[in-house]
Symmetry: C2
Subunit: 190 residues, 2 copies
DNA sequence: GATATTACTTACTAGTTAGTAAGTTGTCAA
DNA sequence: TTGACAACTTACTAACTAGTAAGTAATATC
């Protein structure tokens, strides 16, 4: 039929959304198919297994992130502005629509995840931590940030707090999420 | 038969573990039954619905927490020691066995949770945040802690970072979790 | 105009899910 | 000794899960 050439992309968009909203165990091929107005098997045509679909979502997300951080528009920014850009990723994640970050969603279900997806989760988290570490390190050297301890540990604290705060927003409202973002900034200027 | 009078407690223990390890959508009555060496219907005898089982887990956890914080052994502690006690709850949660905190587990699947369980999640998070807020406030007044901004916001940051760090430990190892705990303490002594 | 390919649908399977109805058995109280 | 009750088992159901095999229709290629 060739009714649309970008079905694959639309499936990925929807599945990424569902992963953020309901978790890996919380969505099915039927969810995707019905929302797209196609049959179950059509989704299997594009992504043979759920495992493969999950991996494709994370791989695309990682590619996107790596493209951004290697782009001059971000790379040449001052550390404080780099951090603002990073925080904006989480702020734009639509916590008001109950969306959380992919890393947090996957890590929560880590134990019941297929191995390939676990490896993708490890890689994503590693990349986020590394970039945040480099930015904090650069910022402390330039005097833009001030904090005790190792940049790697501070990076882990910031990332885990953003991850947790998006989840907390579901129970306590988005105000709590924004409070965590602001508190993180405050704690870097002490 | 009356083979054991504490089956109900054993089910709750196991289900709480499974909730921490696999999430609400990740475990089933069959998991519990097989691990306990009983049949599916035996679990339904004690907890008629999964909804009810989930609520009972959180209710017990909340009761336990409230018992502790109202006990003189904790209540009369100095703020810094109170915080150490709180952090120890998370350290003792066995991140090495892939366990995460209940609040984080439930919030991640919040969108696909029955309403009664959502309300339990809200109540639990509210109680944790309130206690942490009070302790931080008391500690700042006494000079034990030092931080910018509101105690409520700092409480949200600490709680969400602990929650996120337990999840992150699954992908990055327990060392990252302990790093976040230590960094949180460092950030209160600046 | 024949052939191949892409993007599906129809129709299925085997396994798992929460949940139920009707029985069974050991224990305890009167 | 009887009968009630607690704590189960057996045997089921309806709905959902990922995944498959075979067929169909539109389009692109030769």
């Amino acid at each position: 039929m060739a009714r649309s050439t970008n079905t694959q992309r639309v499936i990925l968009d929807l599945a990424e959304s569902l992963l953020q909203e309901r978790g890996y165990n919380g969505f099915s091929y039927a969810h995707i198919a019905s929302e797209l107005g196609v049959k179950n098997a059509a989704v299997h045509y594009h992504f043979s297994t759920k495992d493969a679909l999950g991996c494709a979502i994370i791989q695309r997300y990682r590619d996107r992130f790596n493209l951004w951080i290697n782009n001059a528009r971000i790379k040449d920014l001052a550390p404080a502005q780099k951090l603002d850009w990073f925080l904006a990723i989480y702020t734009n994640m639509r916590a008001d629509k109950g969306k959380i970050c992919l890393a947090g969603s996957l890590e929560t279900e880590f134990t019941s995840l297929p191995e390939a997806l676990r490896e993708q989760t490890r890689a994503l988290t590693r990349e986020l931590l590394t970039w945040l570490h480099d930015t904090l390190s650069e910022g402390r050297d330039s005097g833009a940030f001030r904090f005790n301890g190792e940049p790697a540990d501070k990076a882990a604290l910031i990332l885990s707090s953003l991850q947790g705060a998006l989840q907390m927003a579901r129970a306590m409202g988005t105000r709590k999420f924004h409070a965590v973002v602001e508190q993180n900034k405050q704690d870097l200027l002490a």
